[in-house]
């Protein structure tokens, strides 16, 4: 096991897949000559050339559609959208073309493309560069949504996404590209469906994904050391489909749930997980599930306001304490 950064895991997956299959290409703004905003395609332009590492014009809807069209004839494009905020401009093509084409063609045509995009609140990027949009993507039939919380997942999920015959949206986080973690030395394919119990516990389940997994892990430490509460942390790396069986299994063990997400609450990951808990294992619950989420505001620029808008591990701890009547 070598330690590498999140962006290095992504870069390694690109490189291995492009090296193996000449039909794997990547495209996006500034990914070639400039090396990529978050370095996920660093040096690949020099290695594979401009036909396979395509610096696109700033035309998100256009180049996303172009990548999808290429996937209709056997190309496996990895389409990077620099910021998930810009993905709004590409959603028509992702939803109406990529996600639906297999169904509306009666299974004749598939769009085996990967959409990678970075989102989340970084450092005072303001309302139009700080959004999370996973909740928009996870309700679309025909689209897979995964979101890596560590370098191993970043590497392994991208590898599996490239090999998948379905369109896969990978939601990354702008603050996580330099995160370090162990990645297997040998080739590794992370499953595109399911969830992972990152930390085992008995009293409450903390559901997280992407960056909120780390708030949950930190909260679980504090809860154990300071309050004697044993928290289980479940990493929902697949947001579509959500792992109903995994959610049920953990709730059947701990009987309490806190869902942590950086996104705003309405129509979100938290509400969906609570719905699944209701449907799958309502009578296992000892208390009403709680959501930890952002305020429903366009992300403010001012740093204090920005921090007040998004949750962190303390909010997870407080939510658990309330659940146990300790706050």
């Amino acid at each position: 096991m070598a330690e590498m950064m999140y962006w290095e895991g992504l870069r390694r997956a690109h490189d291995e897949e492009m090296s193996r299959d000449p039909l794997v290409i990547c495209m996006g703004e500034d990914i070639g000559v400039a090396g990529g905003t978050y370095k996920a395609t660093k040096d690949l332009y020099e290695k594979y050339g401009e036909k396979r590492v395509m610096d696109t014009p700033i035309s998100e809807g256009g180049y996303t559609g172009l990548g999808i069209g290429a996937s209709f004839v056997g190309i496996r494009p990895i389409i990077e959208i620099m910021s998930v905020n810009f993905a709004w401009l590409a959603m028509d093509q992702m939803f109406n073309s990529a996600a639906k084409v297999r169904y509306m063609s009666g299974g004749q045509l598939t769009a085996p493309c990967v959409f990678r995009s970075a989102g989340g609140t970084a450092h005072q990027l303001g309302a139009q560069h700080s959004a999370r949009m996973e909740k928009v993507f996870m309700g679309v039939a025909g689209l897979r949504v995964v979101t890596p919380s560590n370098p191993k997942q970043a590497y392994g999920l991208l590898k599996s996404a490239v090999r998948s015959d379905d369109p896969v949206f990978i939601y990354e986080h702008e603050l996580m590209y330099n995160m370090k973690g162990e990645v297997p030395d040998e080739e590794y394919f992370h499953p595109l469906e399911g969830s992972e119990v990152t930390r085992s516990g008995t009293d409450v389940t903390l559901f997280g994904y992407n960056i909120s997994v780390h708030w949950c892990l930190k909260a679980a430490d504090i809860l154990e050391k300071q309050y004697g509460i044993s928290a289980e942390v479940v990493d929902l790396y697949s947001l579509a489909p959500l792992d109903r069986a995994g959610i049920k299994k953990s709730i059947s063990k701990t009987h309490r749930a806190v869902i942590a997400e950086e996104d705003e609450a309405p129509v979100g990951v938290g509400s969906e997980i609570i719905a699944i808990i209701n449907e799958e294992c309502f009578f296992e619950l000892d208390a009403a599930p709680v959501r930890v989420h952002s305020a429903l505001v366009p992300q403010p620029y001012n740093h204090k306001l920005e921090m007040a808008a998004i949750p962190d591990h303390d909010d997870v701890v407080n939510a658990v304490l309330k659940l146990f009547g300790k706050a």
């Binding site: 395509m54 256009g62 180049y63 172009l66 290429a70 996937s71 056997g74 509306m104 045509l109 025909g142």
Partner: protein, 319 residues
């Protein structure tokens, strides 16, 4: 096109006309649901271009007025009609409907119902051809109104930057749904808009198939030779409304009659008669044979085919 080709194409155009008119009837009878966009009046566009291209070899993609384009690529009319009837034997297994005819085996890459949506998909198919090194081209048939979408501009720019083997065919039928082009569009000559992206472009009559063929031959040869994208504008007219719910209150019957004087089937028919290659009786016989075929085989097949199994509702969502 040889005389034999022209006679064959005349029969095809009659089939395309009568097929669409039969769809109209089936829609009134509620055999066909949803939205239905018919092609009569524009037959010389698809036929002329595809005679210059290689149907079944070149990739074709279009919007929702797509039945004829699929058949011209080689799709069995029975499979198209069965699709309109929502049957399992339809070319999209009853999941697509009129606006989503697909036949990948014949390289008909589908009809899409977001206006302008196929532009970047066509360029992407061309990118795939370029990477794989084939001699196919991608042909994108869309209407004039699609050129007011953002992806038109984004796609033409990328197609030129990357020199992609894609032919954009603009069937300018003068209306975007129910809005006349002069009321919605600043530049009436659509081919001029391609010049903004330094793309070779031309405009010609879309009612006379010989003219369409000549212009399309130049365009197809240009794209296939590796010179990059081409934009061909064909001036045409749809006789029926945008879809079945359109009673054409936005235009005059006089205007419609003017265009019908230059009917694409009549132009070709009369030219063959003048050349001594066809008689009016033979033409009438072609129409009758076509109607019999549509009724006895196409409609019969669609009527008698099974519907999809409800247990298969979620089949084809994911691979």
């Amino acid at each position: 096109m040889t005389l034999d080709d022209k006679k064959r194409v005349l029969r095809e155009m009659v089939l395309h006309r009568r097929f669409e008119e039969r769809c109209y009837q089936a829609y009134i009878e509620r055999k066909i649901g949803g939205f239905l966009h018919l092609y009569p009046g524009q037959e010389a566009c698809c036929n002329g271009v595809m005679e210059a291209a290689r149907p079944g070899h070149d990739y074709v993609i279009t919007g929702y007025r797509d039945h004829v384009h699929a058949m011209k690529c080689g799709t069995d009319p029975k499979a198209v009609m069965a699709e309109l009837y929502g049957k399992e034997t339809g070319c999209s297994k009853g999941r697509g409907g009129s606006m989503h005819i697909f036949d990948v085996a014949h390289r008909f890459m589908g009809g899409y119902a977001l206006v302008g949506g196929p532009f970047p998909l066509a360029a992407g198919i061309a990118k795939g051809i370029q990477l794989k090194g084939g001699d196919e081209i991608a042909i994108c048939f869309l209407g004039d109104a699609a050129n007011n979408q953002g992806v038109f501009h984004e796609t033409l720019n990328m197609a030129k930057v990357w020199n992609l083997p894609v032919l954009f065919v603009c069937e300018n039928n003068q209306y975007g749904i129910g809005t006349a082009i002069h009321r919605s569009t600043a530049v009436l000559d659509q081919y001029k808009r391609a010049c903004g992206y330094n793309i070779e472009a031309a405009q010609c009559d879309g009612q006379d198939i010989d003219t369409v063929y000549e212009y399309a031959k130049t365009a197809v040869d240009y794209v296939r030779s590796g010179k990059g994208p081409y934009f061909l504008e064909l001036m045409t007219y749809r006789y029926r409304g945008h879809s079945m719910s359109d009673s054409r209150g936005y235009r005059s019957r006089d205007e419609e009659e003017e265009w019908k004087k230059r009917d694409p089937i009549n132009i070709l028919r009369d030219r063959l008669i003048a050349a001594g290659e066809l008689s009016m009786d033979e033409f009438t016989q072609i129409e009758k044979t076509t109607d019999d075929y549509i009724e006895n085989e196409v409609i019969k097949f669609a009527e008698e085919s099974p519907e999809p199994n409800v247990a298969d509702l979620e089949k084809y969502v994911l691979a």
